[in-house]
Symmetry: C2
Subunit: 510 residues, 2 copies
Amino acid sequence: MSGDNEQKLDLLKRSLLEIDDLRSAGAVLAWDQTTYMPAGGSASRARQRATLSRFAHQKATAAELGCLLDALEASGEDLSEPEASLVRVARRDFEKANKIPASFVERASAHRAQSYAAWVQAREEDDFAATAPYLRTSIDLSREYAEFFAPFAHICDPLIDDTDEGMTVAEVRQIFSELRPALLDLTRDIGNRPQVSHACLKGAFGEDQQLALALFAVEKIGYDLARGRLDKTVHPFCTRFSSGDVRITTRTRKDEFCEAFFSTLHEAGHALYEQGVSEDFDGSPLGRGASAGLHESQARLWENNVGRSYPFWEYWYPVLQETFPANYADVSLQEFYAAINRVERSLIRTDADEVTYNLHIMMRFDLENEMLEGRLDVQDLPEAWRARMREDLGVEPETDREGCLQDVHWYAGLIGGAFQGYTIGNILAAQIYATALQMHPDIPHQLQRGDTSQLLNWLRREVYQHGRRYRPDELILRATGRPLHVAPYLEYLRGKFGALYGLSVEADCS
Amino acid sequence: MSGDNEQKLDLLKRSLLEIDDLRSAGAVLAWDQTTYMPAGGSASRARQRATLSRFAHQKATAAELGCLLDALEASGEDLSEPEASLVRVARRDFEKANKIPASFVERASAHRAQSYAAWVQAREEDDFAATAPYLRTSIDLSREYAEFFAPFAHICDPLIDDTDEGMTVAEVRQIFSELRPALLDLTRDIGNRPQVSHACLKGAFGEDQQLALALFAVEKIGYDLARGRLDKTVHPFCTRFSSGDVRITTRTRKDEFCEAFFSTLHEAGHALYEQGVSEDFDGSPLGRGASAGLHESQARLWENNVGRSYPFWEYWYPVLQETFPANYADVSLQEFYAAINRVERSLIRTDADEVTYNLHIMMRFDLENEMLEGRLDVQDLPEAWRARMREDLGVEPETDREGCLQDVHWYAGLIGGAFQGYTIGNILAAQIYATALQMHPDIPHQLQRGDTSQLLNWLRREVYQHGRRYRPDELILRATGRPLHVAPYLEYLRGKFGALYGLSVEADCS
């Protein structure tokens, strides 16, 4: 590379680092706000975070940054890898950021705060009508947002592209049209079999022991506590300040340990991904997970494919019994394993099992697109929700609080693009885990010994280290040899739940 | 005020708020670094903080800010109070910030990191010579720094003015020349009396109980936990993110509770000051304590004048006995009170009692000025230290680790201006507390009942609420009716320790 180009690349990296520093500082303030900040800090904290966002946005849209990218792209010199990826990703982020006028960001942000506050109260009071005007504004804002990225095939495409680069409504619909009938069949078949008991999950569980057990487990699977920590928050999350500081949070319940244990595993999955990104990318736009779907896939892989598997509990169940002897001394591993994998047609997405979970998601995806397309009016949402619940799950909420008011997503300012990632994540988790098992068939035996190192090393090498170096579809192809497809997921679900519920081979191959 | 001026004032406030947001964000990152950050975060955290400082400095020195101040000052219109104070303080901060070239800040910051690291190792190895080259550079940097503010009467004046506005070496020397002989006399007189025992302070003390007791105590004296919190750090401190979020930290020892209790009281004193600043000043340069000396005075007032007084412990000693029955069930209040106020000629500043503490400070002030004036060479510092220890305290360190290597201040990059504030704080604490007692003679009786509300309300009204609205000397005059003077402090020390050690009336009046 010429000295001139090298100098430009150096300037680019320094600009990007500055943006990353401002965003990371904002993330620290957000983490503190949910973990340790006294109530009195709220008002100023919101303002401090807004100031940091404003500076970061100014830097991320600065004309000088565009000039540097222009010059590097136009130089005609071949950039080495991963410099070429850096320029590509920086260009994408720069163009995206520059398409949104600051005035829109301010309007959307003000609406977000109002809409969220209205939803909190409306959910409390089961008063959907009170949120309707906010939802209408959210739809308008989402459409306005999408228009900044015109042309597009579907109004929701730009919203999906924000977090799942390159994915479209058409592609998601194609995937879901394959998945949904298979899941409806599987749910029906399971519903026809005797239900398993989950009584053993209820009881009294000390908070300190729950947290210690969860921390022990995630440390054992590879979450590096010298570069992370676990705290309590109302809503669990994972946040990255640098490759050396990736934190997770969890929450506990007094009457069961699953909430704390599996949410910690879930967030640790996110954190293993972030801790595994190459240190060389730290502070650059390459230095984090490749997409929302891929990120969710790793949370799900560790929470479900690993964390709710029988081999995993062959190692961990004796530890659980030792931690909570009063609860589990007399419960068999088989009984416990069945309980944590019980399939049930239920009303609440976040409580749903692996089989029915995606029915909740696909329904939300379809309803939000109908609203964005203008085919479903906001006032008809509660009834559309109930109808779809009846159709897919055979249960129906008596209140909107247990219906279309249950999730924050639609009430947080924009509508569209936030739900599909959960199911994409589940599908990818199965596809990636199946590849790992093909390459290393010994992984389940290692899980029986509490050893996840081979799995983690494979994931780090094939997925985590690359950060945003490759486009999501390219990364999936490189890691698994195939594009995203649902077969491994269906195979996983039919195998696991077929065995658990004693389904016939016919059901397995339907 | 004209609309034009009002608009300018509004712009000024918004600029200042932005600077405050960036600095507060930096303070959150610093707090997190010492409380909860995993070790892996260090390198990026240093960079993130530096980025925030750079942005804050850019904003604080921006030409537009200067233009706004020019226009407001030149408008000829009378600004109302406290707007006039705001413009005055903003002008002072702007001029100060603009006199320091960014290149100097970078050099000093790089030197600070190296010097600190060298000191940590040198103290560990008792190797003063290893720090000498860094100290020489620190002296050069301090002199260079001072020159930015030329002319001055003494090279250290600009360094003192940074934290204690308007104070000079000449003024400090005048005060110390009055204080030192009186303290030497008092120390000698006490040394001639039978020593009191402090055996009851040693023992085994559970950490949870220590922290709970300290938190209970500071909440009871008025520290608002809805706008603050207590955490553990290696070095206790108080930090302000906004008027609604003023945090303190402490540290514990297993073999005594005093460290945790009194350091918490000390930091809570700082925090009561910050929590008491008028909310109207939040986010502006008026929104914090007026000077280092005044800040220290409030820490000392609550730690010593209140927290080591007999009436205070008449209420708190039974609580202490209940908290640590094994330690205090058989110890009388009189015995305990004597133990926490024992006067001893010792080597370490941070362990020193109220009487000898200032001898440690005055010695450091004199030695650093001799170095800055070029009258004391760095290589002669250890011997000069020992000589002064012999002269003032009659004890002499066998190692430099217990001598001139004990405090971080000189090894943190610049020399000068950091020590005098401790003694100024002690003097002011006595002067302010004496005024409070004059106005409200019932305060000691209220302390006996665990009631500090009248004292706190008086301090809030006379001192805290004003923030930086008045210059330090003006604030002292307004609050106490007199300029800073040592008589109340000497009277306080002679009264308290004369009674404790049974000194004759003659000694009281010496």
